[in-house]
């Protein structure tokens, strides 16, 4: 019973955060809603006994990406002005996409509905062992990926920055 309650509460936070993030006219409130949503997801990870992932989620997403997005928002012209809603033409597309994605998610849930207990905890040691022994190439490729992401993002950002200043 408590697990269901926790799941309900956390899902509520996640969804509420998502709604605020998408629906808020004020960019900063949207960013805070995003933070709430990310923390909700971290809580859901905890319910699935994925402690390391939950901590990583909070550390990187709520601590780093949220700040990144807020900085990006602050860079825009007049972030305090309420945004105009882009409704109208996009509503049917949005409704269709929403229906399709929901259908997929519900189908997936119904398929996996047998096991209702959280999986056994995966200790972080295991992650380390897997990375260093079996998934070594992806591990090193990961560093290359991070490197290229960093270089690419910096080049793009510097490019527009030079135009601005």
């Amino acid at each position: 019973m408590p697990v269901e309650v926790a799941f309900g509460v956390l899902s509520l936070f996640t969804l509420a955060g998502g709604v605020i993030a998408v629906g808020s006219r004020n960019m900063f409130r949207a960013a805070l809603g995003l933070m709430l949503s990310l923390i909700g997801v971290a809580g859901l990870f905890l319910l699935q006994n994925a402690q390391f992932l939950a901590a990583v989620q909070v550390l990187i997403f709520a601590g780093g990406i949220a700040v990144l997005i807020v900085y990006a928002v602050a860079l825009l012209e007049k972030p305090g002005e309420p945004l105009e809603a882009v409704f109208g033409k996009l509503v049917p597309v949005a409704a269709l996409t929403g229906a399709v994605v929901s259908g997929m998610v519900i189908a997936g849930i119904l398929k996996a509905a047998e096991s209702s207990s959280p999986p056994a905890a995966v200790p972080a040691r295991f992650i380390g062992q897997v990375f260093l022994n079996h998934l070594l190439v992806p591990f090193e490729a990961l560093s290359l990926l991070l490197l290229s992401a960093l270089v690419g993002a910096l080049l793009v950002a510097r490019g527009s920055g030079e135009d601005k200043h």
């Binding site: 900063f28 960013a31 909070v58 601590g63 949220a66 905890a121």
Partner: protein
């Protein structure tokens, strides 16, 4: 007050509560009791720490510090609290009212959260998570977006700028902090803070007494001082630069909330550093374990106050350069040295200690020279044709 004073107090209270509640409520009762204990500890600690800091800084500045309200001014923080509580809440026009209320309310949450992961004593962890270390780091990083929002909510240039700068500083110092903690993880093989303390108990020496531990500790401590935005890293709050930075437009208790987050956050980090590097609650047998930890944490906090009374403030670009160009590569080198130290085998005598120590010291100096060059280059007089 013996070793198990708090543990037995808690179990007695839990028994009283369970006398008239169903037994399945036991985890909830336990959680509530523990949360209440930490919630009581945090503000009381903050009051004591503000008194301590004001007295100590006063002495550093050759004056007494508060000494009127109660013996040695010990009730000064209480008076301050009452004063702040009855101040008018001024919200500038055009400000985001919701954020103006929300940001200071939420900013204390991560700061208080840091306390529940640290072992207060033997078997006295509020939340003994296997990944407690990571959760502590996560909690300390959570306040960055809240501070930006807090700085942005009142419609004030200085406030916004202070918030953005504060967050930039917190991000910059978060990485060397995480990396120096990885060094401890390497030595212990676990992400649980109580496991780290117990490992130091088993090994018989504190981590700070190892060559890599000493450097990791120094890096970690500097990073926590910077994360807490204390002097010499308090540019975001500097009066001469940014008025009061991101908390300019907050009066009364809202300001106190920001302040409380800073103090409790820095004290929690002191307790954390004491647990990771200084052996935590390990100490002489005749003292209760929780007292030992507080003594160590207060010693570290005193060093923070010492910094405040002694070192002038760093400029923003100096701050950030120190983090990105010095502490970050240094912490990576500490990790490499930690690995090398273990592969050199500790039992090969003095050589296994001297070499890493020498090489790390050399790296420290080398990087400092590079950093100094950077500053000289950045500060050379600008040419006349450069608008600056």
């Amino acid at each position: 007050m013996g070793e198990n004073f708090f543990i037995s107090l808690k179990s007695q209270l839990a028994d009283i509560a369970l006398a008239w509640l169903p037994a399945s409520w036991q985890p909830m009762i336990s959680a509530i009791l523990v949360s209440c204990a930490v919630m009581a500890f945090a503000p009381l600690t903050m009051m004591f720490l503000t008194w301590f800091e004001r007295k100590a800084v006063g002495r550093f500045q050759d004056r007494y510090g508060p000494n009127r309200v109660g013996p040695f001014g010990i009730f000064q923080p209480l008076a301050d609290g009452v004063k702040m509580a009855q101040k008018e809440d001024i919200i500038p026009e055009g400000a985001d009212r919701l954020l103006h209320h929300l940001a200071p309310a939420l900013v204390v949450v991560p700061a208080f959260l840091m306390f529940i992961f640290v072992p207060f004593g033997r078997d006295m962890v509020a939340a003994d998570l296997d990944t407690g270390l990571l959760f502590f780091l996560a909690a300390s990083g959570l306040s960055a977006p809240l501070i930006i929002s807090g700085g942005w909510a009142p419609r004030n240039k200085f406030s916004v700028l202070g918030g953005l700068r504060a967050a930039a500083q917190m991000l910059a110092y978060a990485i060397p902090m995480a990396l120096s903690v990885v060094a401890v993880v390497m030595a212990t093989g676990s992400l649980s803070i109580s496991a780290v303390v117990e490992a130091q108990a088993r090994l018989g020496y504190w981590y700070v007494l190892t060559p890599w531990g000493a450097f990791a500790f120094v890096i970690f401590f500097l990073c926590t001082v910077a994360e807490a935005k204390r002097t010499p890293f308090d540019m975001p709050e500097a009066e001469s630069e940014l008025v009061a930075g991101f908390h300019t437009e907050y009066s009364g208790l809202k300001f106190a909330m920001f302040f409380m987050a800073e103090f409790t956050g820095s004290y929690a980090a002191c307790m954390f550093a004491a647990s990771l590097f200084l052996g935590g609650w390990i100490g002489p047998e005749f003292l209760p374990s929780w007292l030992i930890l507080q003594v160590k944490a207060m010693a570290l906090f005193f060093v923070m106050v010492w910094f405040r009374g002694t070192i002038p403030r760093f400029r923003t670009d100096q701050l950030l350069a120190l983090a990105w160009k010095f502490l970050f590569p240094m912490s990576v080198l500490v990790l490499v040295a930690t690995g090398a130290w273990y592969f050199l085998r500790m039992d090969s005598g003095i050589a296994a200690i001297i070499w890493p120590f020498l090489s790390l010291t050399l790296a420290w100096w080398g990087l400092s020279v590079v950093l100094a060059h950077e500053f000289i280059r950045a500060n050379r007089p600008r040419r006349a044709d450069n608008a600056g």
